[in-house]
């Protein structure tokens, strides 16, 4: 980056809870230094400044795609952005939105009545079904340090390093009690990508897998452990499917 030149940022949100965007605003003490490095061009949650730049240095996307209008906006964003970062479980896999079982029109009718079935909406899709994604920040919600590290890396050119390991490893290095083996709690630490410093198991709450499955996760063994812990089959399926993965297995 050139000194004194602010990087232009756009952040759009599609079908989601705003948690990924809120997590950036939750970096309260980092916002002032960030303000001297980044200029908001388009980020409706935070700013009234809107969409005047020809090109964005980087764009972030939160949320799954569920309407044709969202696809149009995503494609326009990709065209205008040098780098595009997908943030959070919804953008990466569809997230909890994708839990609607079976016929979507029936669910629409159940919630919104007859007019709901007329709406042009489809099952939630991840961002990379439509555009090239340059970097991914997982989690529901994402970790503050991962957002800030990604910003820092973009400012200096490049991407942060990423360790490929499971939440289990973080529990081991923190010497946490094993909730799965010792308490028979439905902890997904063995198959979930690390990076949160085992935030939930570290406080005695089993991992729900919000950061997504790590590559080559041993799902069969995970199921066997959950069955041994006494979880019924349907509860195991629901637990593994919560954040959009393993639904098609």
């Amino acid at each position: 980056m050139k000194p004194g030149v602010l990087l232009k940022l756009a952040w759009l949100r599609f079908t989601s809870c705003s948690g990924c965007q809120l997590m950036l605003v939750n970096c309260e003490s980092s916002l002032a230094p960030l303000a001297n490095l980044v200029e908001i061009d388009t980020f409706p949650l935070v700013s009234s400044a809107c969409g005047n730049s020809e090109i964005f240095d980087f764009a972030l996307v939160e949320g799954a795609l569920t309407t044709p209008g969202e696809i149009v906006r995503l494609l326009a964003l990709r065209r205008k952005s040098r780098l595009l970062v997908a943030v959070g479980a919804c953008a990466l896999t569809g997230g909890v939105n994708a839990l609607v079982n079976g016929d979507r029109s029936r669910a629409l009718a159940a919630v919104y009545g007859d007019q709901g079935t007329q709406w042009d909406t489809f099952a939630p899709q991840p961002v990379d079904h439509f555009v090239k994604v340059d970097w991914r920040i997982p989690g529901c919600p994402p970790e503050r340090h991962e957002l800030l590290q990604s910003f820092a890396s973009i400012l200096h050119g490049g991407w942060p390093g990423r360790q490929v390991m499971a939440v289990c490893m973080e529990c081991r290095s923190n010497e946490n009690r094993c909730l799965l083996l010792e308490d028979q709690a439905p902890c997904l630490g063995p198959v979930t990508s690390a990076g949160c410093n085992a935030a939930c198991p570290g406080q005695g709450v089993p991992c729900e897998g919000c950061r997504g499955m790590m590559p080559e996760a041993n799902v069969a063994e995970m199921c066997a452990l959950l069955m041994a812990a006494g979880l019924p089959e349907q509860a195991i399926r629901h637990r593994l499917e919560r954040f959009g993965e393993a639904r098609n297995d």
Binding site: F14, L31, A32, S48, V72, K80, L108, Q203
Partner: protein
């Protein structure tokens, strides 16, 4: 008839737009459109076990995730006749108060303050070294610190679980909150001052809507209370559907036509008014500032929340370590239906579930504050700007009126009038003979 469109609404949570309908150049009608894509939460929780549902349902909205999680737990616990132990109830209340402080501080210092200072966003204020923006963000961080300690995460908390809480926060974590709290009890008046000066807000017309809240709301009610409606007194919680839903549904595309007691106003100002009826004077010149008084009410609520946090921390630090965390009645649970009302930062939140005898959720209904306020927002814009001709003023004043309600459009999963057109934004779009002018800004 010409349409003037304010789209997107900025510095509000979620996707929305306002359509101003002008006849002979004068404002004649207003439509508030909440454009969040349908997320179908009430359908997606069906078929899930009772103890999975709070983890899913808090994903409705990040800003309100604490109050959504606690309200859903209470409704499910009501359905299955489970009473949480006092320690767990206190920790849940502490979590919700942290959420209120965080949410109000976010709205006031990040979303409203730029209007008072004439900048597009808080980032510009920080670049200028604005001391109020900086201190406000620190207060917001304190709200998050409370949520972190009481809830285990600042978004989508993990500590509240069915029947109680998962763990008791360490005494030194509670102690660090108590230490930080003393700073905010000292500094709050200074932070509040500019939000309490009527002269800092635009002049606006009288506030519309019948105030509705739960409990007496001099502190944030943690449920158990009924439904309080201005001029009507207290109604039972289960009457929410009759009072709110049917009226709101009927007016989804309607222009005005207020029902017997609607449209309703919910949120900080509604709570302040209902509290005033109980002798707790609000003391803010509501008439001059109109709906912007809601922001003054929010900063007052931060002050009240800080007081309540102090009481809770004192009690929590004095409780015995062997106090139970969860109800012991978790075996042989029966089915049933349950409703819980709570005050979210933006107003009345209702969760209702039906659970079968195997513990599976078979029906869910959620009414959010912004769904309740949807109609009154449009009515207020029309009342304040009726006959106005200047397009720039129409757009600016509309944006500020809507922002004053602190709408949370992500939350409004239910009862919203969603535009069925695939092109969600006004650009290049034409429906019918109406012309579209003055698109303020477009996100592509």
């Amino acid at each position: 008839m010409t349409r003037l469109i304010v789209d997107p609404l900025t510095r509000v949570e979620g996707h929305g737009r306002v359509e101003l309908l002008l006849k002979d150049g004068r404002l004649e009608d207003v439509r508030v459109r909440l454009l969040e894509s349908p997320r179908l939460f009430e359908a997606l929780v069906v078929g899930h076990r009772y103890d999975e549902v709070p983890d899913l349902i808090c994903r409705i909205c990040a800003i309100c995730s604490a109050v959504h999680k606690v309200t859903s737990l209470q409704a499910l616990e009501n359905a299955m006749c489970v009473i949480v132990p006092p320690l767990a109830a206190m920790l849940r209340e502490l979590l919700v108060l942290g959420g209120h402080i965080q949410s109000h501080a976010l709205h006031l210092f990040c979303l409203i303050l730029p209007d008072l200072q004439g900048t597009p966003d808080v980032v510009a204020l920080l670049r200028q070294g604005d001391p109020l923006a900086k201190a406000g963000l620190e207060l917001k961080a304190f709200g998050n610190h409370i949520q972190q300690v009481a809830g285990g995460r600042v978004i989508h908390p993990i500590n509240p679980v069915f029947g109680g809480v998962a763990y008791r926060p360490a005494a030194d974590a509670l102690g660090s909150l108590a230490e930080e709290l003393s700073r905010w009890q000292r500094d709050w008046p200074e932070l509040a001052a500019s939000f309490l000066q009527a002269g800092n807000y635009p002049h606006a017309g009288p506030v519309l809507g019948s105030a509705v809240a739960t409990g007496l709301s001099n502190i944030f009610s943690l449920g158990g209370g009924g439904l309080w409606v201005e001029g009507e007194g207290e109604l039972p919680a289960a009457s929410y559907a009759k009072l709110l839903m049917e009226q709101a549904r009927a007016d989804s595309y309607a222009k005005d036509a207020a029902g017997a007691s609607g449209p309703f106003l919910t949120g900080a100002l509604a709570r302040a008014r209902l509290s005033a009826q109980e002798g707790l004077a609000f003391g803010f010149p509501e008439d001059d500032t109109g709906i912007h008084a809601n922001n003054a009410a929010q900063i007052r609520e931060i002050g009240r929340a800080l007081q309540r946090v102090a009481q809770l921390l004192d009690t929590l630090l004095a409780t015995d370590n062997d106090e139970p965390l969860q109800s012991d009645r978790k075996q042989s649970l029966g089915g049933g239906s349950g409703t819980a009302l709570m005050e979210a930062p933006r107003g009345l939140l209702v969760h209702h579930y039906v659970v079968d005898e195997w513990g599976t959720v078979v029906a869910a209904d959620i009414v959010t504050p912004t769904a309740i306020n949807q109609r009154v927002m449009a009515a207020q814009v029309l009342a304040d700007l009726a006959g106005e001709e200047d397009p720039a003023r129409l757009q600016d004043v509309t944006a500020r009126i809507i922002r004053a309600y602190d709408p949370c459009i992500s939350c409004a999963v239910h009862l919203v009038s969603i535009d069925r057109s695939p092109g969600e934004h006004a650009e290049g779009r034409s429906d019918g003979p109406e012309g579209v002018i003055g698109i303020k800004s477009s996100v592509f």
